[in-house]
């Protein structure tokens, strides 16, 4: 029983953080926000060069074969730097789906290889998301038609853009016609793929929300330490301290929930749905609180476009309802918890 990360995992996270600290500065986010596409080929290129597109791809397809647990660290970094790119959708969520296809599936190795080398953008649909993130710039779309999983080239679909309050999110409503040529899986297999994809998408977003929460907390701590009113830093006022202490506490207790869920997903545990939903709720609440308290302690400055806080708040508000809103995730937790014979109480946190 060891519920911690390996030194390798922590070192890798550190390296990613150092890389993004330079590559994804707030000024760059602002620049990319202003562009029509909202995407920077240069940024994606440098992410790929850093190997970040290859993280989940199995080693025999040219990747690093990292599992969900390692991604629980990665997604926090992606959230912390709020990168204006849907990297995790391709490199984690789509990769997970493709990876779960039978080994014989024709396109599986080819696409995984292209993901690893960073030469393909893949957008992932799911019935819980009314719109598809990054449908427009995608090369390939993994689309749902009932239980069926289809892989459809961008050229075969029509995309209507839908603007989000978070200018880093580029959402599209997708019109397309399913055909035998695009079908990857159906029936029981399709259902299983979509179920797993929902969990992976939710976990990806949960990690990002937690990273966003930490970033908003850090920005707020910096601000209140330097901003003075009544002759002293506002961070010395107890009300301000307590606001931020509450955020720190929520973050502290959301982290292990995220990690437990990632492990459940990686090991395909029977109770994975409730664990993932718990993670999504805990991380979403932490991010939501960090945004609220963050803007409060920033005062009027937090209400401006100029101060960086707004970019992270908007991402947090948007992601909170993506890959399943609170209602979906609360009901999944409640269903598990209230089921007859549910294993409740002490001693069921790990073994099922």
């Amino acid at each position: 029983m060891d519920f911690t990360f390996t030194d390798d995992q922590l070192t890798f996270r550190e390296a990613v953080s150092r890389f993004l600290m330079v590559e994804a500065v707030p000024e760059m986010l602002r620049e990319i926000w202003e562009t029509d596409s909202g995407r920077s080929p240069e940024l994606r290129k440098s992410l790929a060069e850093q190997g970040l597109t290859a993280l989940s791809v199995p080693e025999d397809c040219g990747g690093l074969g990292m599992d969900d647990v390692a991604w629980a660290l990665m997604t926090q970094e992606l959230g912390y730097y709020a990168i204006p790119d849907s990297l995790a959708d391709a490199a984690y969520v789509a990769t997970g789906l493709l990876n779960a296809l039978p080994a014989g599936t024709a396109e599986r190795e080819a696409w995984l290889g292209r993901i690893a080398e960073g030469s393909i953008r893949i957008a992932v649909d799911h019935p819980v998301n009314p719109l598809v993130a990054d449908a427009n710039p995608a090369d390939l779309l993994l689309l749902a038609n009932g239980d069926e999983v289809h892989a459809v080239p961008r050229s075969a679909v029509k995309v209507d853009s839908n603007a989000s309050i978070d200018l880093s999110r580029r959402l599209g409503s997708v019109s397309w016609t399913p055909s035998a040529a695009t079908l990857l899986a159906e029936g029981e297999a399709g259902r299983a793929l979509w179920a797993q994809t929902l969990n992976r998408g939710a976990l990806s977003v949960a990690g990002q929300l937690l990273g966003l929460a930490q970033r908003m907390l850090d920005l707020s701590v910096d601000y209140v330490a330097q901003r003075k009113q009544f002759g002293k830093p506002i961070g010395s006022f107890q009300a301000v301290k307590h606001h931020l202490a509450d955020v720190a506490t929520q973050i502290e207790f959301a982290k292990p929930v995220l990690y437990r869920a990632a492990y459940a997903l990686a090991h395909q545990e029977a109770g994975v749905d409730a664990r993932v939903s718990h993670a999504k709720l805990a991380c979403g609440e932490a991010a939501w609180l960090a945004a609220r308290k963050g803007i409060q302690v920033h005062g009027a400055m937090g209400y401006t476009w100029e101060v960086d806080l707004q970019m992270f708040m908007k991402r947090a508000w948007a992601l909170d309802a993506s890959w399943g809103d609170r209602g979906l995730h609360k009901s999944r937790v409640a269903d598990a918890m209230l089921a007859d014979g549910a294993a409740l109480g002490p001693g069921h946190t790990f073994e099922e």
Partner: protein
């Protein structure tokens, strides 16, 4: 206690209702944080004024209607209940207006109030400075009286001045005794924004709109007749204004009751989805109970005012109550909307969700402006409860 409206009150309400039914714009106006929307709102305000419905509680001679506060509450109920446009000149009409009525000279009242009621003059407030936000007594912008006593020369900077890039006038506090500190030696001034030496630089808000501005003053000459109240008494005058601001007038219950109604409708239309998260239903119930409590409190206060009471630190309880309730109602709407919540008005899939997003963003500012809720809680503790500083 008699909770029936008088015939006069009823008749006035009927008049307002009928007028709104006949005159409400068919299409919602554009946001007043844009130049075009601002002017649309100015035209609408003019229309209200022409119907003598702009500032119903002001005396008729000053462009008002001479209504009592119950009639004012009824007006607000009809106005917001009909979904009528936000009031664009509130900072002038509701903050400066009552101050002028209390502290202004007869000349100032005649000069400023009717034009304000008609929104011929649009007013921006000049309270905050970069280093004087919650701590308003830290003001450093100066207004120095000329040797001949004919005018003030203003230098300095104000910030967070709502819609100042579109407005005609600014009111606020300036240090008129350069050797003074804190809340002494301040004077309350009205400054035309087209005066020489005024520079206005917009501040882009969270929602991308130019909702605020910084205003710079570089040797701006303002005639002494523009000082409201006595020289050096600005803090006293402003505190009265701040009381009004936090209090009843600026955020009438009707605005929040309208939001509650919309939220209940949203919940009813999406009940199966919403009930997966039981906190939503609880919050929807609270929307009704909270907004009713706020309305009842307003009527209770108005009744006490009519009997000679004054609004004291209770005004701070108002500020906390409406701002946190408004935030919670909008958060709840966002929860019901789920994945649609993030979409802006131009997103086809947003349908009518984006109104809630706009409101949600604006609600974030509620616990901050007009004195943060932390400051309000200090005021309640120190002035209502008498706890030590």
């Amino acid at each position: 206690m008699d909770l029936a409206y008088t015939p006069r009150q009823k008749a006035f309400r009927e008049e307002v209702r009928a007028w709104l039914a006949a005159n409400l714009p068919a299409e919602p106006l554009l946001s007043y944080d844009t130049r075009e929307g601002f002017e649309q709102h100015r035209a609408w305000e003019r229309k209200l004024f022409d119907a003598r419905l702009s500032m119903v509680i002001w005396p008729e001679a000053l462009g008002g209607r001479g209504c009592d506060l119950i009639e004012w509450l009824s007006f607000e109920e009809e106005y917001y209940g009909a979904g009528a446009p936000m009031r664009v000149n509130q900072n002038g009409q509701l903050l400066l207006g009552p101050t002028l009525i209390e502290f202004g000279t007869e000349e100032q009242k005649a000069r400023f109030l009717p034009r304000m009621a008609a929104s011929e003059d649009m007013w921006a407030q000049g309270w905050s400075e970069p280093n004087a936000g919650s701590d308003m007594a830290a003001i450093t912008s100066k207004a120095i009286l000329s040797a001949d006593g004919s005018h003030y020369v203003i230098n300095g900077q104000k910030t967070w001045s709502t819609r100042a890039i579109f407005a005609d006038w600014l009111f606020g506090l300036f240090r008129s005794d350069p050797g003074s500190s804190r809340h002494h030696g301040l004077s309350y001034m009205a400054v035309p924004l087209d005066a020489a030496g005024v520079t206005i630089r917009p501040i882009q808000a969270l929602n991308g709109k130019q909702a605020f501005a910084e205003v710079f003053f570089d040797d701006v000459k303002v005639p002494v007749e523009n000082r409201i109240g006595d020289e050096g008494q600005g803090w006293h005058v402003a505190m009265a204004t701040a009381g009004f601001e936090r209090g009843l007038l600026l955020r009438s219950p009707a605005r929040f009751q309208y939001t509650a109604r919309k939220l209940i409708e949203l919940y009813k239309a999406n009940r199966a989805i919403a009930d997966r998260d039981p906190s939503i239903r609880d919050a929807v119930i609270e929307a009704w109970t909270g907004t009713e409590a706020y309305a009842l409190s307003a009527y209770h206060t108005v009744g006490r005012l009519a009997k000679g009471a004054r609004i004291g630190a209770e005004a701070s309880t108002n500020k906390i109550f409406w701002s946190e309730l408004d935030l919670k109602m909008h958060e709840t709407a966002m929860r019901i909307l789920g994945a649609r919540g993030e979409l802006t008005a131009d997103a086809p899939a947003a349908v009518d969700a984006a109104r809630w997003l706009d409101g949600f963003l604006f609600a974030q500012a509620g616990p901050i402006y007009a004195g943060t809720n932390e400051i309000q809680r200090n005021i309640i503790a120190e002035r209502m409860l008498g706890l030590p500083k």
